[in-house]
Amino acid sequence: MTDTNHKMNCEEFQSQLPELIGTGERISDHPHLQSCELCSAFVAELEAIAEAARQLFPIVEPPDELWEHIEMAIQKEQNSAGQSGRPM
């Protein structure tokens, strides 16, 4: 972080946010956030949304009949490969 960051206004900080996301650096350590409550809260909201999304999606079970459909599709492919003489 440079001293330039410390002097940037909210508009400038916001325009840099996409670049800051995913850099591995903690955005909350950014100098602008040390002195700007509004931007701190804004970043906290975005991070809270991302964290909530990570918790949102459980691993779910596909329907039982899906395997039957897959087996039928494999069988169909193998039959057509056999008819055309192509190896699978």
């Binding site: 916001q14 995913g22 809270a48 949304i49 909530a52 999606f57 691993i59 596909p62 897959i70 494999i74």
Partner: protein, 230 residues
């Protein structure tokens, strides 16, 4: 791929295979991590090796082990149950075609995950989502863009986020936004990996992710007002 026996019972119930293929332990954890299923690497390797020779029972075991993770991935990426089922089927069909080419350069679960993502991306491309020129194709109309001014913080968001509202907001994201949001924030891919997968720049991936998060924030801020009107 040799001709195989397709008169198999469902993969979760396969007593004839247990003598030479370990019965998979059902993975019910939310992590979806193959190793967390409690299946040893040796068992995975044996099952995989058999499946690569065309053994249909072994392939059924692989399906049983990985179906939840792949189905859940497809569901997150497209947000539609019927389409997720179709994509899961297509992913395992692709796996059946390509499994002999797996050389073990990465973990099998990682390789399969990537294969499934590619299946979803191919489907999205066919539906007209150009992932080559993400900037143009995925850019929402001006009136759909998240506002540049971020306004006052919303204490409702920094407190507890309404689960239903967030689900709806993610489902309503434009396809391109949802794709990158899911890959980065939920599946945990880095921007450089996403850029490779989607054939776009790293900056583009970062930009789309930021816009997706802004869009979700906007949706969550308006949700309580929408609910109040009902």
């Amino acid at each position: 791929m040799t001709s195989s026996r397709l008169e198999t019972p469902p993969p979760d119930h396969n007593p004839s295979a247990t003598s030479r293929i370990a019965t998979p332990i059902e993975n019910t954890s939310n992590s979806g991590d193959f190793k967390s299923a409690g299946v040893s690497n040796a068992t995975e390797a044996e099952t995989l090796a058999l499946a690569q020779t065309g053994d249909h029972y072994a392939f059924a075991q692989l399906y049983s082990l990985h179906k939840r993770r792949i189905y859940s991935l497809c569901l997150r990426m497209v947000g539609n149950v019927a389409e997720a089922e179709d994509l899961t089927q297509e992913a395992f069909l692709q796996l059946h075609r390509k499994i002999a080419t797996f050389r073990g350069d990465s973990a099998f679960s990682t390789w399969l995950h990537r294969l499934a993502i590619n299946v979803v991306l191919m489907r999205l491309r066919r539906k007209g989502l150009s992932l080559i020129s993400l900037d143009e194709a995925m850019e929402p109309a001006p009136e759909e863009r998240p506002g540049r001014s971020f306004g006052a913080p919303d204490l409702n968001l920094t407190g507890s986020i309404d689960r239903l509202a967030l689900e709806r907001a993610i489902a309503n994201l434009p396809a391109g936004y949802r794709l990158i949001f899911v890959l980065h924030d939920i599946e945990g891919y880095e921007h450089n990996e996403i850029a490779t997968m989607l054939d776009c720049s790293i900056g583009n991936s970062k930009s789309q992710l930021h816009k997706a998060r802004l869009k979700l924030r906007d949706a969550l801020r308006t949700y309580p007002r929408q609910e109040a009107r009902r």
